[in-house]
Symmetry: C2
Subunit: 206 residues, 2 copies
């Protein structure tokens, strides 16, 4: 599979399909159809078929998709058939919530390290973690081999911290800070700014 | 402006432009160009011009965009030139973080009510709020006129709670629960599942 041939927009939908299929598994379902999956995620059956056909032939005419098989395939494509260690940067409310978040279990991620720059927090316990000093973040992340970070620092320091993360070898940043980050081309950023999510809906409200 | 004529994908980018323009304002900038704005948000200048042209003529050939004017226009289009009251449903770690989140200030939103179903939490204080009982959520939200909610309950109860929110008149849901929600056509949902954000990036990691 050549990575550059699949449009980003299709890749961005695969985790949604995976989540819906996992949910079907909890309901003891064995097979599904592009119609049913589409209805669950709010897309047309044609879109589902087109997206999945990028990666091979997953369904059978008439019998639909085997859920276990499709889940395995999607996990493989998305590279979450393994566990990625993740660093949480900034242990305010959001950082604490993420460090304790149960929703990463079995979805490919595990919080492995947490950092803050507040001397009052450094070396204290937060859940299962000892909060590490931001001062040592570059060597700590580099030695750990961690490639994925969740950024929960204030907007004012987000770019500066991002530069350190890039230096440390981080290649994927989930950004909770309300600011667009500048990163090299081989570093990926996803934005989870709640105000943006809300502003995307108010346009439609009467 | 006829709402249905503007593609959703364009609407979804406007909050990103607004955030970048607000950030330019904090840097005392007066004007910007589609090139500069595009570079800040990772899109082409042509895309920026095309998106903004849907709503009228905002820029001048040669002088670019007046930032104050464009910010005002975008706030008006997105209907965040007012303050929307928001209800937080589910006061676990994520709900607490959102109830205390400072990033809504000046972006069109204010947390106004918080709810939980845990008898140990109901009627206790959380920051500036008294946690209200989920049992009374339908009349409480209906009387308040609140139309926007942030959903932070576990996946197992998310659909059931969503049905109550719809009954109460909620029209926009920011969903932190890791599950696709079924809602009527006039109710909007945005998903902020951190695992999805992470899974959208691991595909690209070597």
């Amino acid at each position: 599979m050549k990575k550059n041939e699949i449009p980003d927009i299709i890749i961005s939908r695969l985790p949604i399909y995976l989540r819906a299929l996992r949910h079907m598994q909890t309901q003891q379902k064995q097979t599904t159809s592009s119609q049913e999956l589409g209805a669950r995620v709010g897309l047309s059956a044609a879109q589902i078929r087109k997206d999945l056909s990028q990666f091979g032939e997953f369904g059978k005419q008439g019998t639909g998709y085997n859920i276990v098989f499709l889940v395995d395939k999607l996990r493989e494509i998305l590279r979450v058939n393994r566990v990625w260690d993740v660093a949480v940067i900034g242990m305010g409310d959001m950082g604490h919530a993420l460090a304790r978040y149960q929703g990463f279990n079995d979805r490919g991620f595990r919080v492995a390290m947490v950092f803050d720059n507040d001397p009052g927090k450094v070396n204290t316990q937060a859940g299962n973690f000892i909060i590490q000093d931001m001062k040592g973040i570059v060597p700590a992340i580099r030695e750990s081999g961690i490639r994925v970070a969740m950024l929960c620092v204030p907007a004012e320091s987000a770019q500066e911290v991002t530069d350190l993360l890039v230096e440390a070898g981080i290649k994927a940043i989930l950004n909770y800070a309300p600011i667009s980050l500048k990163v090299p081309e081989d570093v990926h950023v996803q934005y989870l700014d709640p105000s943006i999510g809300l502003q995307r809906m108010t346009y439609y409200l009467e």
